[in-house]
Assembly symmetry: C2
Homo-oligomer: 141 residues x 2
Amino acid sequence: LQDKQLTDLSVGDVMISSEKVAHVQVNNPLEHALLVLVKSGYSAVPVLDASYKLIGTIAKTNILNQILGLERFEFERLSDILVKDVLNEEIPCLSKEDSLLKGLNTVINHPFVCVADSDGYFDGILTRRAILKQVKKDIYT
Amino acid sequence: LQDKQLTDLSVGDVMISSEKVAHVQVNNPLEHALLVLVKSGYSAVPVLDASYKLIGTIAKTNILNQILGLERFEFERLSDILVKDVLNEEIPCLSKEDSLLKGLNTVINHPFVCVADSDGYFDGILTRRAILKQVKKDIYT
Ligand SMILES: Nc1ncnc2c1ncn2[C@@H]1O[C@@H]2COP(=O)(O)O[C@H]3[C@@H](O)[C@H](n4cnc5c(N)ncnc54)O[C@@H]3COP(=O)(O)O[C@H]2[C@H]1O
Ligand SMILES: Nc1ncnc2c1ncn2[C@@H]1O[C@@H]2COP(=O)(O)O[C@H]3[C@@H](O)[C@H](n4cnc5c(N)ncnc54)O[C@@H]3COP(=O)(O)O[C@H]2[C@H]1O
């Protein structure tokens, strides 16, 4: 892995694997999801179901947009709305075996891309930072 | 610019210039800053002073962390706190003349980097997306 170039690597070689990825459950209330996002410091995280299948992603923007009323942010509504009502389902998805080059193409428009297996189980995320570190390695060798 | 490689370009060649960058003012209340962030959809933006000098950056996380009380998000406090009390001042900064290679090194740990001139006036931002688009160009040519 040390001497491999971006074009020889796969998504699985550099992704952050699932056990290290903060996520929320599809049936959590938004109040819980916002707490996870604020405490983890991440702007968006994957959304999984109870069997750890990938359902989509959720971002602070989605949650705050949902409670933005005419005069103020209506924070009391956070306990009434569920993640499943607000999540992004139209998300790109990669498999561990995909080339890192395909990963590069996908992160051009997405800060991170979810990785799942053929049955839809969540494997991890490919981040822009992981790609950029590899690019830097390639340039300096 | 079309045929130049990443190693031949400067930050100024690919940055988003200041007039296209959403920002907040150092004396705005957090309520205004959060509205700008939610409506623009950006997770973080630069903070400028009245003469358009670069002061720092502010992110949704900073604002939400500030109002996270023991039991709930205390949204009513948003009108009492100013951007200057919460902004990040320890930020990397580039100049238009810096090489894009130096820009690549900096975006490894920052989704975007502010660009300012020698007097501290805000020139624009260098984003990861701009760098990744150039990397893709280089690989396919
Ligand atoms: N706790 C931390 N420690 C050190 N650096 C931190 C950090 N939190 C954020 N960063 C830096 O800020 C970038 C943007 O984070 P953001 O949360 O907006 O956007 C993140 C977040 O939405 C997601 N992400 C990254 N790691 C994650 C994880 N372990 N669990 C869940 N989501 C993650 O992927 C996006 C892109 O991540 P990437 O690493 O390329 O880029 C990260 C990283 O460079
Ligand atoms: N309105 C929009 N239209 C299309 N795509 C959008 C978008 N808003 C966000 N994105 C996509 O999401 C990425 C992360 O946006 P984020 O707001 O977390 O993080 C952004 C934001 O904090 C800041 N940023 C980008 N453009 C900005 C602008 N015009 N004004 C102020 N801040 C900006 O730079 C960070 C990295 O931007 P980058 O372009 O690399 O990466 C962007 C872009 O790929």
